[in-house]
Symmetry: C2
């Protein structure tokens, strides 16, 4: 028999704790600011939309935060997720590198997103909340939260960008199947939505508008909170189950990664797989290279500025210290919708500023080409977001070949692409293109920013 492809863990190996990198990072992240007072945000600034337990996690310096049994019980539907050795893909690349991937597409929603959705639903439920609101673009996050809310018998109200609502109905149906109400945004349910509709009754909507609607609805409705799928510290924290499992699984193979690669939108799947390994860098003298891969059309990490900026387009959130292209930056329309976000989470931004992680930007044609090579060898058709990681894996595998070095590469297969086949269809039809942004396009939103630099 040939070598093992899958490295599996039993349910008893499910992590007991989330790993909080804030306990170990050399320089702490800068505090988010209240844009009204320009003072650090206080817990009470956030209680209108978040439960206290998540607010505490947001600022905690405890290294380990226990995962509640109720959350672990739901995780067991799909966790521990499998780790794969990409043997056939390695052969195709003819590389001396060993390539492993952690497959998060096994969750019911098809990506890593339920790891935090389940935890957020639980903590809200514990504090008596009756329902959650959120926004969604193409629908990955919305479907994860819909699934999680159903497990804890919470109502779920998802504001879905209207153009996606109309053009990509299947994620909506998925959310309905799990009992969520999905509303095309802008809607008549909120002042934010009504204001937009007055100006333009046919507005296609945007993620920024949908966030504003979801936040407004939560802030103004008794018993209803809001949930976010990336960027915030507690979201990244919940994702660390990914890396912790991967550590155990790689131990079973006797390997330890030289390089870890993950796609980068707001930071949650990247953080999830890398943070537990970064602890080895910080505390045990290891030197794992962690590479965040972003689309060249939305290059906040490689071309953005490290400064205070809003998390949403409308400017409702606290000011977050982040690598950003400006909160009004509108990235070109690419198929990796989950990576079309102007900024990066505060912790990841601090790590990048301190050169403790790396970033790389890739164009979408290279990404789809990489995704198809992977599908043809490993079988899994990955989400367009995930193709970014695979493109970088190929670059590193080819470098290893040139250098003649046997490196171990681990990447996060953050989600499958079964709801994104129209992207592959457009690729095969030659309809996709790369986007070379001018500096003017890149920095126009930043130039208008009046917020302070984060230094």
């Amino acid at each position: 028999m040939s070598a093992s492809k899958k490295i599996l863990l039993g349910e008893s190996e499910l992590p007991q704790n989330y790993y909080n990198i804030q306990a170990d990072m050399p320089n702490p992240m800068l505090p988010p600011l209240n844009p009204g007072t320009m003072q650090p945000v206080k817990p009470e600034d956030l209680t209108a939309i978040f439960p206290m337990e998540l607010i505490k996690q947001e600022v905690s310096k405890e290294r380990y935060i226990e995962i509640p049994d109720e959350v672990r019980n739901i995780y067991k539907m799909y966790r521990p997720s499998p780790l794969y050795r990409a043997i056939e893909f390695e052969k195709l690349l003819d590389t001396p590198a060993k390539i492993y991937y952690k497959y998060e597409g096994v969750s019911p929603a098809g990506s890593h997103k339920p790891n935090t959705a389940i935890a957020q639903a639980f903590y809200n439920k514990m504090e008596g909340v009756k329902g959650l609101t959120t926004e969604t673009g193409a629908g990955q996050w919305g479907s994860a939260l819909s699934f999680a809310c159903k497990q804890f018998d919470l109502k779920c109200e998802v504001y879905m960008v209207r153009i996606s609502y109309d053009q990509k109905p299947y994620r909506k149906v998925m959310m309905n199947t799990w009992g969520a109400e999905v509303i095309a945004s802008p809607s008549n349910r909120t002042n934010s939505g009504r204001k937009i509709l007055e100006q333009d009754p046919n507005s296609p909507g945007s993620l920024g508008i949908a966030i504003s609607e979801a936040v407004e609805k939560a802030a103004t409705t008794e018993g209803v909170n809001y949930a976010l799928g990336s960027v915030l510290n507690h979201v990244l924290l919940h994702q660390t189950v990914i890396g912790q499992e991967a550590i155990k699984q790689l131990e079973m193979t006797g390997d330890f990664p030289d390089i870890i690669i993950a796609p980068f939108g707001g930071g949650s799947n990247f953080a999830g797989i890398t943070f537990p390994f970064l602890r080895y860098n910080f505390q045990e003298g290891k030197n794992v290279r962690c590479i965040a891969v972003e689309p060249a059309s939305c290059p906040k990490l490689t071309k953005g500025e490290f400064r205070y900026d809003f998390g949403d387009t409308m400017g409702f959130t606290p000011l977050i210290p982040m690598y950003t292209l400006g909160h009004t930056f509108v990235p070109p329309s690419i198929h990796a919708g989950g990576l079309r976000y102007h900024g990066a989470g505060a912790i990841v931004s601090q790590l990048l500023k301190d050169k403790l992680i790396e970033a790389s930007a890739v164009q979408q044609l290279e990404c789809f080409e990489a995704g198809i090579k992977f599908a043809q060898t490993e079988g899994i058709i990955v989400a367009p977001e995930t193709t970014h990681a695979i493109a970088q894996v190929i670059r590193e595998a080819e470098k290893a070949k040139i250098e003649g070095k046997q490196k171990t590469i681990l990447f996060n297969l953050s989600g499958h692409g079964y709801f994104d086949m129209s992207a592959y269809q457009d690729y095969f039809a030659g309809k996709l293109q790369d986007h070379e942004l001018t500096n003017e396009q890149l920095y126009s939103a930043l130039k208008e920013l009046k917020t302070p630099l984060a230094v």
Copy 2:
């Protein structure tokens, strides 16, 4: 911690052999007949489209047929598949029954179909074949074969029913991603296709026409063979990895099934999960009830006749002894496209005739209602075909409750529904209906049959 949800096997537990029920069934199946001579089909009647190794498997009486290492190596991409205990679903049903399901949706193509596609591709490759043709309706089988052909570097030509080709493009894109050529059928590539197009240039096609095109192309092209996804003995044989794994997994829990339930189209997923357990009935005095669940709109098992009939609509295949509604029967359009087949495989038909298995017919509204209950508790959104099994599971679980008996129920979760969300959409929109067929509708195709009864 609560009980274990997933029962996993390592790769070393992958079955070494296929289990051939022809070695153990009390009455052998009747021989297929050559419709020209009305004599039993000879191997040489089939060599134009099948490799010799599969023809041998079709008639073998050996109990175990070794799975080649090359096939097991590809199986390891997704096998052994997980067995789940449906704890949350049990709670919802408030039943004393234990419910387990074998999850075949973990394969790259999303169903059990690759279990035979991989084996068929391998045996063809070994005999020097360069490419395979097949037909596909909604695309489950076509995508499984596309994936398998890519693994063994075979060309793959899929004739896809035109109306599906036009209306459901995503399975097509999936096949393209794995390198297959997908042709809308009827096409200009074959005499069969051209004949239909002459009569009706806008023909929406049918599975029967697509089979004819694929068979004709294989029969008339050097180095090209044909592959079928259900009905035939060798196809059912390859699926027995499912049941063999389930036996080992249930042994780990200490349970043994009282009832096994699977959706029924041509018989492949039903055979795959039940045949290895039926051996216990035949040889060790066990009494597992095996229930095949078909749509009430295509009730060949519960209302069909046991007689010789063609496997395809056009009447090109050998005559197969099967429960059938007549090979020209056109079932109403339901969303479980994979179950819209007029007949049942010969072995399964013999077992049903001998009352060694049971059959049940359910309407599609009950099925979707069952599927949604399952999705809301267990997370997985299943294929419309699979909802038929779940509907029957609910019936049996409710019966167990009334009887106050703790039964163990196992069902085959044959595939996920991520490419079938339009079906759920139609259900939520109230667009689906049940189909009460009149006897005239049911038997009109049978009445015209001139083939012999199978007795």
